[in-house]
Every structure is written in C-alpha cells, then in structure tokens.
Subunit: 125 residues, 2 copies
DNA sequence: ATTGACAGACTACGCCTGTAGTCCAACGGA
DNA sequence: TCCGTTGGACTACAGGCGTAGTCTGTCAAT
C-alpha cells in the first residue's frame, strides 16, 4: 500500500475528499468544467484509483454507483509531506517554512496559526 | 524556464549543490556506490540537465570538464515548496507543519528553530 | 419490447522518465 | 605512435501517465 497517487488522480481525490460520495456523473460535470476533461478520462482515473484501493464504489439507493475515498486526506498528507521534506529538506521542517516564507511572505493569520501550533506542542511535553 | 527536475536528476543536483564543480567521473564514483547507477546513466542525466539549462559545463585547468549548477538550491526549494503547498495544502503552510508533526513528532531543536523563525517575522513588521 | 445514454472494463497511444548501449573524438600511458 | 579508457552526443527501450476511444450491459423513458 504505497499510496501512490498521480497528479491527475489527485485532482479527483481532492474533490472526493471535499465531498463524498459522488457519482461518476457528478465528478464529470465538475471536471469537464474546471479542467476540460473528457468523461472517459474521468472514468479511467476512477478505475485506476479503484484498482489501487484508494477509492471504492458503493451502490446507493436506486442502484446508483457512488464513489468514496478509502484513504483519508490527512493520512495521505502525512505521507506525501514526510516524503517531500525528506527529499528536499533533509527531513527538517524549519528550513522548509523558511523557504516558503521567502518566496511568499506569510500573512498574519498564517503566522498566528503557526504560533498556536508551536504553543500546543510545548503544552504536550 | 519551468525548472522541472525529475527525481533522478534531483539526486545529481543534490550532489552539485553540496559541492561543485564536480567532474563526470567524480559524480559517477559517488553514484555508482550510493545508487548503483551506471556511468552512462549519470551521463544521460547530466546531458538532460544541461539541455534544460539547470547545470553547465566549464573547462577547468587541463581541459577537464567541470559541472556546476546554474540554478541555486534555494531558488529551487522556493519554487517546489510553493507548488507543493499549493497542490496539497491549498497554499497554507500551517496545516502542512501540523500534518508533518502528526506523522513524525518534532524534536526540540526543530521546534526551537521554528520558533526563532516566527520571532524574526514579528520583528520584520 | 425498443431505444438512447451513460457506467465501467478493456484497449490505445504518445510523451516522459529511468536506465543504459553505441559511436566517435580526445587524452594519457606504453 | 598505438591502445585502452573516458566524455559526451545520440539512440534505445520499457513502464508509467495523461488522455481518450471501443465495447457491452443496464436502466429509464417511450
């Protein structure tokens, strides 16, 4: 279960993580509009995600197929983030934040949120 | 100049960012040992990076070819980090740090470093 | 019962990527 | 001067990925 989700597949997952279950039709409607994807493209991606056990289909009322994630967003975020930090920042989070802030200054709410996070860590000790 | 560097290419870049210039031979020695890569593989990657204007060759003393980066590490880190944060965390850094910390608790020095970073941001205002 | 439209499995296909081989020119040692 | 080794340009090739077409069955409306 290596949790490998490609870029195109991730677009689908973002939708399903935001709202699920969704039917193929509902997904297609959004993705045709937002991404210009063909119905068949959406279908292929759904199949590939299903084959990887990342999503699953379930029969809803009236026999309608609903798709929903089997992997939750937070689990996925943890793994990709850990990989990213390892690959690009030698496993250290602070330099990542520094690089990010250099490229795009953090607004006050971002800083406050980070501060709250750090404070909660001190408490946990 | 989209700065797209693949995983295998990145391995080379990490070496060149740590120490440069390096000759093809020097790179090959390290990568044969560390990664089991063939000399020819290293060569292909060097060529591809050069074609993308990410590295450059320069004639050293004695006509030896030395490779060195044209893109500095910090620039690269800023761009990949921004993309990553946008793609996975909707452009917000605090949730990224939260996810990272959930998967792998931060040790004291990491927390201290982050705190110092935040403090310096307050000063800048 | 017939038809039309969509769902999903399977197939297709070109480009990118990882990995390496071929070929030729240059250089260093015998 | 000749040979073996190396560098680099070019070529190769399989598997993954983005993108979509074909085929078949099903369900809804007629």
């Amino acid at each position: 279960m290596t949790l490998d989700i490609t870029d195109a597949e991730l677009v689908l997952m973002q939708l399903l993580w935001t709202e699920s279950p969704l039917t193929a039709r509902e997904l297609t409607e959004r993705l045709e509009k937002d991404k210009g994807w063909h119905r068949k493209t959406v279908n292929t991606l759904l199949s590939r995600l299903a084959r990887k056990n990342v999503i699953q289909r379930e029969k809803g009322p009236g026999g309608i197929s609903n798709w929903h994630p089997l992997v939750d967003r937070e689990t996925y975020r943890k793994t990709v983030t850990a990989s990213f930090v390892d690959e690009h920042f030698n496993g250290e989070i602070a330099p990542l934040v520094a690089s990010f802030a250099k490229g795009r200054s953090l607004d006050d709410s971002q800083v406050a949120e980070l501060q709250a996070l750090l404070d909660s860590m001190f408490e946990d000790d």
